[in-house]
């Protein structure tokens, strides 16, 4: 019914022929795709290739210890650390301390994520919520939360409560800051479009604003998780006889360098697991994002 846009068919060659200098041909052509550029063959799965770095580090540690390059009094060889580990596992101590710490972190995460999300939604969606909460949270963010430790102890004693609250505070602030700004950043064009489709306010929140702020929430969760293990170290300086932090303090006092290294390894493993957990959530929840493969 219509003709092609004539710009497609307008002859332009005659213009260039007489007046313009002929373009000089490039001297060489390079192949950017084609048969002689075979696609790289992947030998190992990605998760395995990601272990290259850590394994190389282990090998370096082992070889420098074996050759005496690393002073065993300053940095124990792998064998000594393995020995200390098996001892701690055998008498059940390791499990006890790690489990005590994991529980604190899980409770801190639970309360922090819930609290941070609720506050972010309140202040992201309502004017009064924003007026009441936002500057308060921004101020709290500026305070290093372990500076609150003395106050928390005075208020709550030296039981589990101040420890969990300390972790929850850090988690809650990370979640709040990121979720709040993600809610505020949801594309208003989408809100409008949904409005023209007759969406109620509840439907707008549930189908547009909350999913739209999910990427920000997950960024917050990632920060919160690493922050939680950091807070844990401070939390476990509050009088306790259980937890990785206690184990660390004891090792320091008894000059057990193997246990100190073991604790480094534990934190590293825990950090990797936390990271993998958030990546897993992102892969499940953000599959819709353009170009998101979820590595």
């Amino acid at each position: 019914m219509t003709t092609l846009d004539s710009r497609v068919t307008t002859p332009v060659g005659s213009l260039a022929a007489s007046r313009e200098p002929r373009p000089s041909p490039p001297t060489t052509l390079i192949e950017v795709a084609g048969p002689s550029r075979p696609t790289k063959r992947v030998l190992l799965p990605r998760w395995l290739r990601k272990l290259y770095g850590p394994v190389a580090l282990l090998l370096l540690w082992w070889s420098t210890s074996a050759t005496g390059l690393l002073d065993p009094d300053l940095f124990p060889p792998p064998g000594a650390v393995v020995g200390a580990t098996t001892d701690l596992i055998a008498d059940g101590e390791l499990f006890l301390h790690v489990w005590a710490s994991i529980q604190r972190v899980l409770y801190g995460l639970l309360f922090g994520v819930l609290g941070g999300t609720v506050l972010a939604v309140l202040s992201g969606l309502t004017r009064i919520g924003e007026d009441l909460l936002d500057s308060t949270m921004q101020i709290l963010k500026a305070v290093p939360n372990y500076a609150l430790t003395p106050l928390l102890i005075m208020w709550m004693g030296i039981g589990e409560e101040p420890k969990i609250l300390l972790i929850a505070l850090g988690v809650g602030i990370a979640i709040y800051i990121n979720t709040y700004s993600a809610i505020r950043g949801v594309d208003n064009a989408l809100v409008e479009a949904a409005t023209t489709l007759g969406a109620s306010r509840a439907a707008l929140i549930w189908h547009v604003i909350l999913p739209g702020s999910l990427p920000g929430f997950l960024v917050g969760l990632r920060l919160a998780l690493s922050g939680a293990w950091l807070s844990l170290i401070f939390a476990e300086t509050i009088n306790t006889t259980e937890g990785i932090g206690y184990l660390m303090t004891r090792a320091q006092n008894l000059l057990q360098s193997e246990v100190s290294v073991l604790i480094l390894v534990i934190y590293a493993v825990i950090g990797m697991i936390s990271y993998a957990f958030v990546r897993f959530l992102e892969r499940r929840l953000l599959a819709w994002r353009p170009g998101f493969q979820g590595t």
Partner: protein
């Protein structure tokens, strides 16, 4: 011509009076004395417009003339317009950008907020009509611009609107896709017979598609022309060219501008279109407006 009577015309602007039975029974849109100002900039200045049920009206106007402002008023998105705006309750909007929810798959976007039990079947049927049934489970981000816009069209039509509002829906599409979209839109409108208000800056598009073309200028409708050309239409017909010249002059645009070589001018229509100022000039303006509209800060 109208296959149904949208007798249930309702006021869209919150401050508009509710004149019972004042709208002519065949009308889908009755706009009287609509005003809208931004600061001291009056964009709509006592505008009147009536659109009949099932009628396809194209609205032309320069970038910034208030086309989107009027369309948003009709969509019920602008609570600050004054005057009377009567529209049917069943409306649907297609914007220049598809505005699909990225976290919902294509079919879920089409049937978003539909509460009928057969919504899925209807959504699927709507996708079939726009040729995208095979993409029902795709994420919007994986669609091309034209495909996404077809989904937006399906999302609008699945609601069987009595009034379909289109704000430069083809503005972001390439020329070839646009031609295919024209045919699709015409076919679907012929089947469902909604009243249509197509806002565009493309004179050819307006003449190709509409039963009536209006020009928005100075905050009012400055020209209101029926398009009596037979369908299917083509840009090469004499009546088409005459109508285009008339509309362009109403818009105050000289079509034979630029550095067209005398040799090119002899090629007639082709040269005219190559130098057609409406495409390049206005579309950039429209883009800059849509940046204003799409920015989350503006209306919060």
């Amino acid at each position: 011509m109208a296959s149904r009577l949208p007798g249930d015309v309702i006021p869209s602007a919150s401050n508009a009076p509710v004149p019972e039975g004042q709208a002519p029974p065949e009308a889908a849109v009755v706009v009287t004395g609509v005003r809208r100002r931004f600061g001291d900039h009056t964009v709509l200045d006592g505008l009147d417009l009536t659109i009949g049920a099932g009628e396809f009206v194209a609205m032309l106007g320069h970038s910034g003339s208030g086309k989107s402002t009027l369309l948003r008023a009709l969509a019920g998105l602008d609570p600050e317009v004054t005057g009377s705006v009567l529209v049917p309750p069943q409306r649907a909007v297609v914007f220049q950008h598809p505005r699909l929810l990225p976290w919902k798959r294509v079919l879920a976007n089409v049937i978003f907020n539909l509460r009928e039990p057969d919504a899925r079947q209807r959504g699927y049927a709507a996708l079939e009509e726009v040729g995208l049934a095979s993409h029902a489970r795709a994420w919007p981000a994986t669609l091309s611009g034209g495909e996404a816009q077809r989904v937006a069209l399906a999302r609008a039509l699945v609601r069987r609107p009595h009034l379909l509002l289109l704000d430069e829906p083809f503005g972001a599409l390439d020329a070839l896709t646009r031609i295919k979209m024209y045919a699709l839109l015409k076919r679907l409108c012929h089947r469902y017979r909604p009243a249509v208000l197509l806002v565009t800056h493309d004179v050819d598009e307006a003449i190709l598609l509409a039963d009536r073309v209006v020009v928005l200028q100075g905050g009012r409708i400055s020209l209101d022309l029926p398009v009596t050309l037979p369908t299917p239409r083509s840009r090469s017909e004499a009546g088409f060219t005459a109508l285009r010249a008339r509309l362009l002059s109403a818009l105050g645009v000289e079509e034979r501008v630029g550095d067209a070589d005398p040799r090119d001018a002899s090629q007639g229509d082709a040269a005219l279109q190559a130098a057609d100022p409406t495409d390049g000039v206005d579309s950039s303006g429209a883009r800059s407006w849509s940046a204003v509209a799409d920015s989350p800060e503006v209306s919060r």
